[in-house]
């Protein structure tokens, strides 16, 4: 399928300059490159600007609720592990409202790709701080500056047991495509943090342009190296910002473990009879 066939006819209402466009088009290209037909791909999204991607992609989609894209995606994957499931979540979505689900998906090694459209702000609700906003961020709910420091989601993911951790940037489409391709191909939980520029409420693209760099020659299986890379930039202050695959390892997936031996039809009558016999 050609890339364009993955884009729906729905009128797009992202702001000009919004980093979500890059993510949408990178997904499109990667699906096309990997030859995944649109009927076999599912976009699962939360609620927020990022989530509109569910309407904009001509693939299967589950436009879910704020913070809950990940458990929905987990359910879909358990229900049909042959589908390619891409979960588009916002930073408000996945780091605040539904952080627990993100950590559990990593812990379980659910075979889905989670893309966090991390614009470090609540876009759709017009500009409040999120867990990755920098210290002092003055949003509508924190006009005097936020009173807590950001956390580093990559660091949390490493602790939670994620088997694939990467970072991309919405002004590096090519790098993003490479990362996404690897993420989708990775067997197990793939976590892709995208520094997605919000043109309207937190446009820090010049700062990112100055600080990002593409990883080269790192060994993603080296956990110790990954720890250092992950902490090179802490979402506050300066620091070089590595882009690319920071960590990757093999492990059995949740689907493999849960669904092992579960092929075939349920013998309902037999099951009920056996249960009755025990009572």
């Amino acid at each position: 399928m050609k890339g364009a066939e993955y884009i729906s006819q729905t009128q797009n209402t992202w702001c000009p300059g919004c980093g979500n466009f890059t993510i949408q088009h990178a997904i499109k290209s990667v699906l096309s490159d990997l030859g995944i037909p649109r009927e076999e791909a599912v976009i699962v999204s939360g609620i927020g600007c990022h989530a509109k991607i569910a309407d904009y992609m001509q693939t299967n989609s589950f436009y879910a609720i704020h913070g809950r894209a990940i458990p929905v995606a987990t359910g879909i994957s358990l229900g049909n592990p042959d589908l390619t499931i891409i979960c588009s979540a916002g930073d408000g979505d996945a780091y605040a409202e539904g952080l627990d689900h993100l950590i559990f998906a990593a812990k379980r090694n659910v075979d889905i790709t989670v893309i966090i459209h991390d614009n470090r702000v609540y876009g759709l609700t017009t500009g409040q701080y999120t867990p990755t906003s920098p210290p002092g961020f003055a949003g509508k709910s924190t006009p005097e500056g936020v009173k807590e420091d950001p956390f580093n989601p990559l660091d949390l993911m490493l602790s939670a047991g994620a088997t694939f951790i990467a970072r991309s940037y919405s002004r590096d489409k090519k790098g993003m495509e490479e990362v996404l391709k690897a993420a989708i191909q990775h067997k197990g939980f793939s976590f892709v943090e995208v520094l997605q520029v919000c043109a309207t409420f937190y446009d820090v693209h010049t700062c990112y342009d100055d600080h990002v760099y593409r990883l080269e020659g790192n060994d993603p299986e080296d956990r110790r190296a990954a720890e250092v890379l992950v902490r090179e930039w802490n979402y506050s202050g300066e620091g070089r910002i590595p882009l690319g695959i920071l960590y990757s390892r093999d492990a059995p997936t949740f689907e493999e473990r849960i669904l092992a031996g579960k092929e075939g039809e349920i013998d309902r009558t037999g099951l009920i009879q056996r249960a009755i016999a025990k009572r």
């Binding site: 729906s8 693939t59 879910a64 049909n80 579960k262 075939g264 099951l271 009920i272």
Partner: protein
């Protein structure tokens, strides 16, 4: 004695539940229909637990009266349960007038585990009640499987140390399983086509999870216990979207957390069955007791308006059959479908006859081929339900107000159309429910006084109704409210008495919406079921 009741009491951790189940098995093998009430506080060791087993000629779902026999594991049991004719007790730990056996010493002598003390006491009870040894042994064999021999030895020691008290009648043996409402719900869901069960433990729904997990061992049934109830419901909706028939189970607090998912299911028209097992609230309340105080909540749960089905079975058989139907209905109407249960229905074992082949209609699907639109407009408001991958098509579901393709819309006309579609589906559902017997009538069906109740209160009401020649009307389906059947059931009733286990009269308030006003309200808030005698007394009082 053509009917008898025996209680067993002791501390948590002393095997009171298991002992009760063994007594129930014995009564079953004697040819009785049995029902067991199990009372336990929310703790793991200590406290006071008791089980009351009623052995009757006909099916029953309530305990009738003071037990005839008491098996006391400790002094506390004797202190609490008074006025009982025959007390069987452990002379090593308690004093009483009754039939004492040195159960603790026997356990020590036999080098058995202390938890097996209940078997010794039950052995002693069997002798006291004139129950043949063979029946006792057979019951133990069935209850304990590989550990049967040891337990038979212990029971016989109790038996021999005991003496005859008052003999129960021996009837024609039968082979009905004794199972809880939760067991019946689990099996019913499976019968109805369930592929997956997702749940986070919460009393009194947990045993459904445990049963399902056990049944899943050697079957393709998927059982998941995720991080919390929000994950439960949303994961379930994911499974449903992917084509699995899925149910979840919880109680009040966990259900609160599912509300947002329920509303999502309503909007996105994703089928799911929700077993909501009531216990006394608000909040944590009394986790191991029972209540009917979440009816109004379940009827209104989730923001916005959407069709839903609420079914409150009142007996173990109904729990089985309606759980099976619930799966069918949920997928037919693509809406959240509730089994509204409670501790008294879910956790109390009763003799049950369920048909492993209970028939379920297969859902009609109109979509053939061509362009698939998830929410296409139809006359009856039901759009064909398909699961990805649909060749050449995409399946788009959406929590926003959406058009026929599932794309977000905020256009006033399309928004109104989307709501009209949901309402129309509700009307179709309302119609379809006319095909089922949604209202049950017991007692004297044309008696002028009608007792109205729902769920697990039904069995006690039925028995009282039979005793006092009243009409007993019990809606099994509460939403869409089966007003035609209900009106028919109340035809020419002159006085309405509503019995429910809550403080504010939630059933009364529901039927008031349909123009029926209670003349008398009987309510209870202490977490314990109405016993039949108690209820009889109260009803007698109000009708006199």
């Amino acid at each position: 004695m053509s009917e008898f009741t025996v209680s067993i009491g002791g501390q948590a951790g002393e095997g009171i539940n298991r002992g009760g189940l063994l007594l129930a098995r014995i009564a079953g093998l004697l040819g009785y229909r049995v029902y067991m009430y199990y009372d336990y506080p929310s703790l793991i060791r200590g406290g006071h637990n008791f089980a009351t087993i009623r052995a009757a000629e006909k099916d029953c779902g309530g305990i009738a009266r003071r037990p005839d026999f008491l098996c006391a594991m400790d002094q506390e049991t004797i202190r609490r349960h008074t006025g009982i004719e025959i007390i069987v007790y452990d002379t090593d730990v308690a004093k009483a007038e009754g039939i004492g056996v040195p159960a603790s010493s026997i356990i020590k002598e036999e080098n058995a585990s202390p938890i097996a003390r209940n078997t010794v006491i039950i052995g002693a009870f069997c002798r006291a009640a004139g129950i043949p040894r063979e029946i006792m042994e057979e019951a133990i064999r069935r209850e304990f499987g590989s550990r049967a021999e040891e337990n038979i030895r212990l029971a016989l020691r109790g038996y021999h140390e005991s003496r005859e008290g008052r003999s129960v009648e021996i009837k024609t043996p039968q082979e009905s399983p004794v199972m809880t409402g939760n067991d019946a719900i689990a099996l019913g869901l499976i019968r109805g086509g369930l592929d997956a069960y997702v749940s986070y433990p919460m009393t009194p729904s947990s045993s459904i999870l445990h049963t399902m997990a056990d049944l899943a061992r050697d079957s393709p049934l998927i059982v998941v216990h995720p991080e919390n109830e929000i994950a439960v419901i949303t994961m379930a909706l994911g499974l449903s979207y992917a084509g699995k028939r899925v149910a979840v189970g919880t109680s009040g607090g966990g259900f609160c957390l599912m509300n947002e998912g329920v509303s999502l299911a309503g909007m996105a028209e994703i089928p799911v069955v929700i077993v909501m097992a009531m216990r006394p609230g608000p909040s944590t309340g009394m986790p191991t007791y029972s209540s009917q105080a979440d009816l109004g909540f379940v009827l209104h749960a989730g923001h916005g308006e959407f069709p839903r089905i609420v079914i409150a079975p009142g007996t173990t058989n109904e729990a089985y059959e309606w759980s099976a139907r619930a799966v069918h209905l949920a997928w037919q109407f693509q809406c959240p479908t509730f089994i509204l249960s409670d501790k008294n229905l879910g956790e109390h074992p009763a003799s049950t006859d369920i048909d492993p082949d209970f028939p379920i209609p297969s859902p009609s699907t109109h979509y053939r081929e061509g362009i698939y639109r998830r929410y296409c407009t139809t006359d009856n408001g039901i759009s064909p339900l398909r699961f990805p991958p649909v060749p050449g098509n995409v399946v788009k579901v959406n929590s926003y107000t959406h058009d026929e393709d599932g794309i977000t819309t905020e256009e006033p006309r399309k928004a109104a159309a989307a709501m009209v579609k949901l309402i129309r589906k509700g009307a179709t559902l309302d119609n379809e429910m006319g095909l089922y017997g949604c209202v049950r009538v017991d007692g004297i069906s044309d008696a002028p006084i009608a007792v109205i109740c729902f769920g697990s209160t039904g069995e006690a009401c039925r028995e009282v109704g039979e005793r006092l020649s009243l009409r007993v009307v019990r809606p099994i389906v509460l939403e869409p409210f089966p007003i035609m059947q209900f009106a028919e059931a109340l035809h020419e009733a002159e006085e309405i008495i509503i019995v429910e286990e809550n403080a504010t009269g939630q059933l009364a308030s529901l039927i008031q919406r349909f123009g029926y006003t209670a003349d008398r309200n009987i309510r209870s808030v202490n977490g314990r079921p109405f016993t039949i005698d108690e209820l009889e007394g109260i009803i007698r009082e109000v009708i006199e």
